[in-house]
């Protein structure tokens, strides 16, 4: 960015800033002095020897990790970025209180996958945020992010990003990264500001101090051992640790720290950040060329990865198509289809549809019919429960006093017998005038043959009861039940036409005979 500016007025405020720096340096010197005093009192030569051994080991491990990362960068054609990466990791370590023992492998995983050292730096920051948010160590998080970059998002499920497995698979890496950033942005910085984070920063400072001292010890041992052998030098570590105890002093420490900046509070950092510029234009050009080349290689790697993913996706889609084509001849499906065409209950129909969806691997349909089946089963259960709770109806006639038919008939018979007796006795008690007034009525009920005028039982002489007083149109006395009246008509019965013809013949015969033909009614009848 250009910086063409006219400063119209300026005020010198450096004094205060310098005073603050002086104050910080003095405080640090005092702290170190106190530590050194405590160090001298608390630790004996034996403890110092132990510390020295640990420091040497820490330095060795750190040196190995740094070399591995440098080699990786070199192999990826990113050797020019090695100093910048070292500075980045160093700054990150101090800023967030995360040891470089974790940051280096994490960064290595990312840069190996992406091939882009700047993008890997951004991803490492994202990994730190996600690590702080989820509590998973940064190396694992970086590994998962690197895998996601390569298209395998399975590892990201455990971070609770609010995305399903299917969604994660469907999303691009940039979309997943945006989601991670949205959820975890600023978590690492926040964690670094907590007391735990500050303690971590102190741990980082202590670990770095151990590594630095360890490195110095190794160099010193190698020199003092004569032939540079570390094995021999470590044997003399006890001796040198005693020597170290005598040379550590607050004054020397303060002098050493005066060369560094206090960018992160009391934690020293290098004063000037490294850039991609060289002192000579040719060097800058060479570095830029190398960077362009590396960027192109990273782009190609990403394009290859994308192409590979597309190819895999296509093959999966092809396999699905093939499976669908095979399904046309699938016997199971045919049977289901046939069953669906028959007369089935609604629940059975849903079951068959569900089976059909499962066979064709149609997730939407499976969800739909599973829900429907569930509902149908619930309804059935409800119905069964309702039916079980219904009690049978009581016998509504159980409290009725019903007489048997025989008893009723007996009662009725008794009634009629009593009535018959009373009716007969009542008729018998009537005088002759009263009986005449009844018009010859004789009660059948309870009547005897004598009372009815029957003088003989059977035979041709049996007289019939008098029919005097019997009505024919529903009035007057009625024929008793069982009595039939027969009417006998004697003579021939002739039809009207036959009668007319007979008359005509008689008239014609009279005419032929010369007999006077009278048209009296008597004459006609005689002729016939």
């Amino acid at each position: 960015m250009s910086n063409v500016v006219i400063d119209i007025a300026a005020e010198f405020t450096g004094k205060k800033a310098f005073k603050q720096a002086d104050s910080a340096a003095k405080k640090l010197t005092k702290t170190i002095g106190d530590v050194a005093k405590g160090f001298g009192v608390a630790f004996g030569a034996r403890a110092l020897a132990q510390y020295s051994k640990q420091a040497v080991l820490a330095f060795a491990a750190d040196d190995k990790a740094a070399r591995v990362l440098s080699r990786t960068l070199n192999n990826l054609g990113l050797a020019f970025a090695d100093p910048a990466v070292k500075t980045f990791i160093s700054d990150l370590e101090k800023q967030y209180g995360v040891l470089d023992d974790f940051l280096r492998p994490a960064y290595q995983k990312l840069v190996t996958t992406t091939g882009n050292w700047r993008k890997s730096q951004e991803l490492l920051k994202t990994a730190l945020d996600l690590s702080a948010q989820s509590g998973v160590d940064v190396v694992s998080v970086a590994d998962d992010i690197a895998r996601a970059f390569a298209g395998n998002t399975k590892g990201l499920q455990k971070y609770g990003l609010g995305l399903s497995k299917a969604q994660l698979s469907a999303m691009s890496f940039e979309e997943v990264l945006a989601r991670i950033t949205k959820i975890s942005n600023g978590q690492a910085a926040l964690a670094a500001e907590t007391y735990t984070g500050k303690l971590d920063k102190l741990n980082v400072a202590a670990a770095n101090a151990s590594e630095t001292i360890g490195g110095a010890l190794i160099d010193a041992f190698a020199t003092f051992a004569g032939n540079g052998s570390i094995d021999k030098a470590t044997a003399k570590i006890d001796f040198f640790s005693k020597l170290l105890a005598t040379i550590i002093s607050p004054k020397l420490m303060a002098e050493a720290l005066s060369q560094v900046d206090f960018k992160f509070g009391i934690i020293p950092t290098m004063k000037t950040p490294l850039t991609n510029r060289s002192k000579s234009p040719a060097g800058t050009y060479a570095r830029n060329q190398a960077e362009i080349k590396a960027a192109a290689a990273a782009k190609k790697q990403q394009a290859d990865l994308l192409a590979s993913n597309k190819k895999t996706l296509k093959s999966q889609q092809d396999a699905l198509k093939l499976a669908k084509a095979k399904a046309i001849f699938d016997l199971q499906k045919i049977q289901i289809e046939a069953a669906l065409k028959g007369k089935i209950s609604e629940e059975d129909r849903i079951r068959l549809k569900l089976m059909q969806a499962i066979e064709s691997e149609n997730i939407d349909q499976i969800d739909k019919y599973t829900k429907m089946l569930d509902d149908a089963q619930k309804n059935t259960e409800k119905l069964v429960s309702t039916l079980q709770n219904i009690k049978p109806l009581d016998n509504i006639f159980k409290n009725w006093n019903i007489m048997s038919v025989k008893e009723q008939l007996d009662t009725l018979e008794g009634y009629f017998k009593s009535f018959a007796g009373s009716a007969a006795s009542a008729f018998a008690s009537l005088g002759a005038a009263q009986k005449a007034a009844l018009g010859g009525y004789v009660p059948f009920v309870g009547a005897t043959n004598a009372s009815l005028g029957i003088t003989s039982n059977g035979g041709a002489t049996t007289s019939t009861p008098s029919t005097v007083g019997l009505g024919t149109s529903g009035t007057g006395n009625q024929l008793p039940v069982g009595v039939t009246i027969n009417t006998n008509i004697e003579g021939s019965i002739i039809a009207e036409n036959d009668l007319n013809e007979a008359i005509n013949k008689a008239l014609a015969a009279s005419g032929w005979a010369g007999t006077a033909i009278g048209y009296s009614r008597q004459a006609v009848i005689t002729a016939v």
């Binding site: 960015m1 250009s2 910086n3 063409v4 500016v5 006219i6 400063d7 119209i8 007025a9 300026a10 005020e11 010198f12 405020t13 450096g14 004094k15 800033a17 310098f18 700047r118 991609n276 830029n288 960077e291 362009i292 960027a295």
Partner: protein, 213 residues
């Protein structure tokens, strides 16, 4: 080189805390002066690329300068190849801005109080081209030996140059406006600060409180 003043930051802090109306008044006065410089500087920006450098225009037809055709290859902060900034008068004018807030101290402990900037890339080129090599870079390996001189000679550079970092105050837009103003706006700004200081002190003294009561 900027004018060195003392106590302005403290005054403005005090104004913000105890007399916001005076703080606003002071900012308005300073803004008036800075706008004069800004307006003049914008007036010095040609509508098309200067010195008939027509291929430098962003709307140029034919052989426009691109990242490939330019000999000045640059890289942005992300390490990608950056296109050579093309000349666009509107964009350059937009890039001429002023600021009244005090910034962070620089390496020597100075904090800028008021400033005018030419912040667009093409504007910076137009502003400063030819400062270092007025006749083109002698190390240029261009097929056209006069190309460098042709490009940097976009017009005379106004202003003065002094030894030391930040001593070159020559340019074609903001520096020209500042030079031609001959310090009038600076005097106005300083007077405004002094007037505000007096007003503030007057308010702060006990006697003035009694008078007003």
């Amino acid at each position: 080189m900027p004018v060195e003043v003392k106590g302005v930051i403290a005054l403005r802090k005090a104004l913000n805390a105890y007399a916001p109306d005076l703080a606003k008044e002071l900012t308005d006065e300073i803004t008036k002066s800075l706008k004069v410089i800004q307006k003049d500087a914008r007036g010095f920006i040609p509508s098309m690329a200067p010195n008939n450098l027509y291929n430098w225009n962003d709307q140029a037809k034919g052989r426009q300068i691109t990242a490939k055709t330019s000999m000045f290859r640059t890289f942005n902060t992300e390490g990608r190849l950056r296109m050579f900034p093309l000349y666009n008068a509107a964009e350059i004018k937009r890039g001429i801005v002023y600021r009244t807030g005090y910034g962070k101290p620089n390496a020597r402990g100075f904090r800028s109080l008021f400033r005018v900037r030419n912040k667009s890339a093409a504007g910076a080129i137009y502003e400063t081209a030819g400062r270092t090599h007025p006749n083109g870079d002698p190390r240029s390996k261009s097929n056209n030996p006069n190309a460098g001189a042709r490009f940097v000679q976009q017009g005379p550079l106004y202003g003065r140059k002094k030894a030391g970092a930040g001593g070159d105050m020559r340019g074609r837009a903001i520096f020209r406006a500042w030079e031609q103003d001959e310090g009038k706006q600076l005097v106005h700004i300083m007077q405004a600060i002094e007037n505000t200081r007096v007003k503030f002190n007057k308010r702060a003294t006990v006697s003035s409180s009694r008078e007003s009561a």
